[in-house]
Symmetry: C2
């Protein structure tokens, strides 16, 4: 079994710089020398600490996903109506991804280029766990008779996250389209309008009856 790695200050410093650069320019678009320069370390330190560039990415993913699990599970035991739970879950999702834009952008598109055989079990675990939570809330709502039953639960996550990602991946386009001029306004739009839109959409899907 592989023990869970613990990172020291220097390593974390490297990880944070790598995160920014990978998110900005992509994994292949970022060189170890870029990272070293930005982090003010010698280029050999990356290999020294992480072994390789690929393992640096693995470490980054592990570092960022390991502590994201807990928050959601707490939601399950709260005493709320199903629809309120869903709304809270969505707000939690968006808020969390929005404040971890870097790593999620990296994940979103390094996952897609299958070439890399990354060891990202921690990320898969996070996903399955999140899906279980969502499933629990929805079946609870179905049992109570407030949610319809002819829906595909595994496709709800793509709708929630996909809507957010598509918006964010096309940030420039939407800022132009919606006359959003500053970074603050952009984040505000996400937290208010986009979150509301997604909540409204999922709510409609769950409780609509023709």
């Amino acid at each position: 079994m592989s023990s869970t790695p613990d990172f020291n200050e220097k390593q974390i410093q490297i990880l944070l710089v790598a995160e920014t650069l990978f998110a900005e320019k992509g994994f292949d678009g970022t060189s170890i020398r870029n990272i070293a320069k930005e982090a003010k370390i010698n280029i050999a330190m990356v290999s020294y600490y992480f072994g390789s560039k690929e393992r640096l990415l693995e470490s980054l993913i592990f570092y960022r996903t390991k502590d994201l699990k807990i928050q959601i599970e707490n939601l399950l035991v709260e005493d709320l109506e199903p629809i309120a739970k869903i709304n809270k879950l969505i707000a939690l999702y968006i808020n969390r991804i929005n404040s971890n834009k870097g790593i999620f952008r990296i994940l979103h598109f390094e996952m897609a280029t299958q070439k890399k055989e990354l060891n990202i079990k921690s990320f898969y675990d996070l996903r399955k766990s999140n899906l279980k939570s969502l499933e629990a809330i929805i079946t609870e709502g179905q049992d109570k008779g407030v949610f319809r039953k002819d829906i595909s639960i595994p496709l709800i996550t793509p709708t929630i996250l996909g809507t957010f990602f598509h918006f964010h991946m096309n940030k420039e386009y939407f800022m132009d389209l919606l006359n959003i001029n500053t970074e603050d306004l952009y984040n505000n739009y996400i937290n208010v309008n986009l979150t509301k839109h997604i909540q409204q959409t999922i709510k409609a899907l769950l409780i609509y009856e023709s």
Copy 2:
């Protein structure tokens, strides 16, 4: 004014190879030598025909998006109920993107890394035009009193496309999750289940009344 370029057979052959490789390994992950080898041409031919690697990408985007515009506009004049139009629009969207996975994957994530100052006016035009079509259908439905009015039209596209993309970008994960074993079954799942889910979601969003 720049005239619209026409591509000869050899150029198209290069574009198609580039499309496959860019989609598989990303723009930065693909070298001109990769392309040349796969297309069985000399490496100098890319510069000869397109000027540079970046301009090759531009050409590819132009080549793929220029003829995608027409289909949707025809939909507007058909004599259908608003909700039927929306359903048809969604099916059209998904089907088209699904049969042009390569270029859309490239667009989806080369757009995101802002470094490139690509000349992709043709793509922006396509977008604005598509949004206009969607807007027309929805306002028509609102005027007829079948669609609710407190919705954000610009955020509907992210929900439609985002759901699809998120699903497709995480193809491996969902094939595992949903026990989809073959490429055919995967495409079938998209055309049937995923399309239906998106239609169901948008329909619920548009006509739900609390």
